[in-house]
Amino acid sequence: MSHMQKFIGGLIVIAVLIPALAQTEAKTRTKKSEAAQATSAGTDDSARGQKVFEQNCSRCHNAPEGFPPQISGTIVRHMRVRASLNAADERAILRFLNP
């Protein structure tokens, strides 16, 4: 195989690899972006949950100093009934209690 043939073969391999690499990079970026958005959404939801907690639950009582995560859903549902929270607020508080 001559040097020219090796050179052309190399160009073809590069030509095939570059778009593949570019696509992989794009996918990685998309995944990172999605992950960042998800994290941001989670953080936003948690922040909103804290706000809802302060505007509703904390009006009557102090927050408990700690509790096992296995009862967080039941606590929040209880607060939903007691404080007449809507479903979105219930989810936000749950996210705040389980970040």
Partner: protein, 352 residues
Amino acid sequence: MRMATNHSVRLRICWRALALQAACTAVLLGSAVAQNAPYISGGGGFITSTKGGNTTYIPIIAPEFVGALGDHVMVESRATILESYFPRGGGSPGYKHDAFLGLSYLQADVIANRHLTIVAGEFLTPFGTYNERLSPIWISNFEEAPLTFGAGTMGTASSVGCMVRGTAFSSDEVNVDYAAYFSAASTNGQFNAERSSGGRVSAYFPKAGVEAGASFSRLLQNTHENFFGGHFWWEPADSYFRLRSEFAHAPHARGYWLEADYRLAHFGGERSVLGRLEPVFRMQQVFRNALDAEDGMPSADTNRVDFALDYHLPHAVRINTSYARELSSNGNRNIWQTGIVYRFLFPLWRDK
């Protein structure tokens, strides 16, 4: 041979992927279910109350059970168990004691949709705010309920029947919620209630920290009576100041209470020595135009001021101390109260 090898490798990868997906699903389902474990909450404490020179000692525990069944149903109950030791009176030395065990409520909640929750069983009567929100011993700033507490809650504070409640309208600016109930008469020792109906509607403005509402209830047995009430709360955001007030009107009496408290957390934070202190002031007045045993309010015109110093210790322990001066046509008296209250919260069973 190579094709067969590739096929078996693909199969293995496929099975591993399926197993991983199943494991992830199981973990997610498990975590979702695990968050809904039932729990026991409530408060326990020891209270002393000195009225006109007579001191009563009350060890008390008020456990509350909450359990979720699926995504829409919840069962909850609160009991009160106490023993009160009080002077024999009549010049006799020593103390007598009485035990009390009662259910405050035992109800099933069905969350029908985002606007409606249906409650059945024995529940706290939704009149005003004190009964539903501030009556637990680990929440209330004072050991004694307001003078107007009996009005509208029919004396028993609990109803046996059904209730609908929920959020009528909700936005970032305002939240409008409602509650309407019907109660049957019950003379059962644990489920004592009067035949009555009523409800409450309130609007809460979260940005301003203001809530205003109105309540109504009608006694439907013996002498039929109407009760009206109103409440106003102001709890400014980013502040430790709280103002709560209620007004109640019965056919033969009317009254109000107004309570202001300020936790000194601006001095070093909530966990500082000074930041754990919470001075509270409450003012109450009741005006009566005729005797009425049904309305649950004092039998004569009464003015009362309460001063309290509450101290929030670590581990959900709180010390409440208060002094009240009561001025009444039936006689004036000083009321001294102290209490130490512990709030507990734990799952009914431990997670594996």
